[in-house]
Symmetry: C2
Subunit: 330 residues, 2 copies
């Protein structure tokens, strides 16, 4: 599999010694396949076992040579694994925990990559045996693409990975999982599961919902044609379509499993939007100017924090040039 | 001025013969300076006159060698011009029309680049003499940067430029303005001013307002720290910050001058958001899944329409790589 020009080859060091003898990935979509690629390229695990419920996905993973063994049976996949990472939509956490629980090796680390943490804990913990180390995790990284072919080795480089360990988590297991994600390129952070769900509600879940909503609104417009929406989308609309092209199953589950935090954020957003609407209706230019000035600084801070590129228009001009040359990553 | 790697050098042909002897740009920000660069590089005008009310901006334009003559006096700048393009915030249209009207050459084309068209017509037309050709225009292109240094030659390449001519507009003048924008790289479209304002309300104005609003909401969060918002912004939030970093004066004016269309779009958006909120509250997974699936196809259509890059994550990985190499366009 060649590296597309859109995904730079990482300068990260390859480990001298793998962290795990056997790493099992349950689910091999964007996140799972990116873990597989990083683990392979950086010598993070000796054996990578891949499991997916769908045979088409599994075949695709095998064609891409993402692992060393492949099975539709999650229980079979976790046998003898030192570390199991569940990479399924949040709503499938409970059934996955039930399927793997009887087959886990004592002392194994069981983790996940879900965008919601309290619900994953509630779904999985009751089913897992007490002799494994269950440590929930969330790498805050992704693209709007999904499926095994969409992953890439450097997805986690310089992104944050949040662990939300339960009380009395074994320190040695925690250290190993930290080392694992750091080897995948991530910066590590730790917080309480409930706080995680609030933080992600505003930084990730609300933005996705708003993006889905505005794209839906534009689609239902009878006074402006669809073709006009497409043609003139460079005026701003297209920025929202990226998030609104994300995996529907994943985002349905996030909405259902982080409901309270999301409803709270939606209420705040709507309140602010009503105030903005009122400023427009009554032509309060100063209020509009103040809001629009204030928000400007926030992008600078995100760029300075290394979480965004400092190129105008997301560097799209460079991307278009690339596409013109026939070098795009289609 | 060297071409940054983020802005490819255009393959557009240089004209054998300029379209205008003298082109005057009133206002030399992102749009004005991009016109100047394209006009110079592609031999579109023999003489480019640059005017700005602010002396700092004018000095900067001169340092960047954007034109052939520079003056703070708009009336002086338009003397003998064959084409005058007003590139000021929409709210400054009337005062600009008043300032230039007595000095316009008979037969000159007077145009603009405003994101709102009905208001610009209402502000300018009454003041312009009947012996000039007033043809309102709107190039649907831009970035979140502003000022003379932010412009670049290829800004309009493959973007749409909408003309909203008044009844009885001179066909020859219309043809010349069409040729001018086509030479700048734009695809040309023509529509009624009121329809333009509706189309742009949904494709550009509403997206900007929503972006400003969500960034404002995130900023007022007492339960999640600002530093957490920055750190985890890669989960989706950062996509909104680009639009919310756009020029505050320009966007204040758009809100004030396209009020009716914008309030209509805001009402539709809020209605849809309430329905989405209700789907979440009552755990209607199927409704959520349907919306999230439907919106996915729209991005594909925009990419196929040539208005978006087909790179995951806006090709940000490539951009980050570039920044690491020290080649970014800071």
């Amino acid at each position: 599999m060649t590296q597309s020009p859109a995904h730079p080859v990482s300068a990260n060091l390859v480990l001298d010694e793998p962290i795990f003898d056997k790493l099992t990935l349950i689910g091999i979509g964007l996140i799972g396949s990116s873990i597989a690629r990083a683990a392979r390229a950086r010598n993070i695990a000796r054996h990578i076992a891949v499991s997916s419920r769908r045979v088409e996905t599994l075949t695709q993973a095998e064609d891409l040579q993402l692992g060393d063994s492949y099975t539709q049976d999650a229980g079979e996949a976790v046998k003898d694994a030192d570390c199991v990472i569940v990479c399924v939509p949040v709503g499938a956490s409970e059934q996955t925990a039930k399927a793997i629980a009887p087959h886990l090796k004592p002392g194994a680390i069981v983790s996940d990559v879900g965008s919601v943490k309290r619900s994953v804990i509630d779904q999985m913990q009751p089913h897992l045996p007490s002799n494994v180390h269950f440590i929930p995790a969330h790498p805050v990284a992704g693209t709007e693409k999904s499926g095994p072919a969409s992953g890439f080795e450097t997805l986690f480089d310089n992104r944050w990975c949040i662990l939300t360990p339960l009380p009395d988590t074994d320190q040695d297991a925690l250290d190993r999982l930290n080392r694992f994600w750091a080897a995948c390129g991530a910066n590590m952070e730790q917080m309480d599961a409930d706080h995680h769900d609030l933080v992600l509600a505003i930084t990730s879940h609300l933005p996705h919902l708003i993006a889905y909503n505005i794209v839906g609104t534009a689609n239902d417009m009878e006074i402006v044609t669809q073709s006009e929406v497409m043609k003139y989308s460079a005026g701003g609309f297209r920025d929202f379509t990226r998030l609104a092209a994300s995996d529907p199953t994943m985002w349905r589950d996030v909405c259902l499993h982080n409901k309270d935090a999301l409803l709270e954020m939606l209420a705040r957003f709507s309140e602010d939007l009503s105030a903005l609407q009122r400023s427009i209706r009554w032509s309060k230019g100063d209020e509009l100017f103040d809001l629009f000035t204030h928000t400007r600084g926030i992008r600078r801070a995100i760029i300075d924090a290394g979480q965004e590129v400092d190129l105008p228009d997301f560097g799209r001009q460079a991307g278009l040039q690339q596409s013109d040359d026939g070098n795009s990553s289609k």
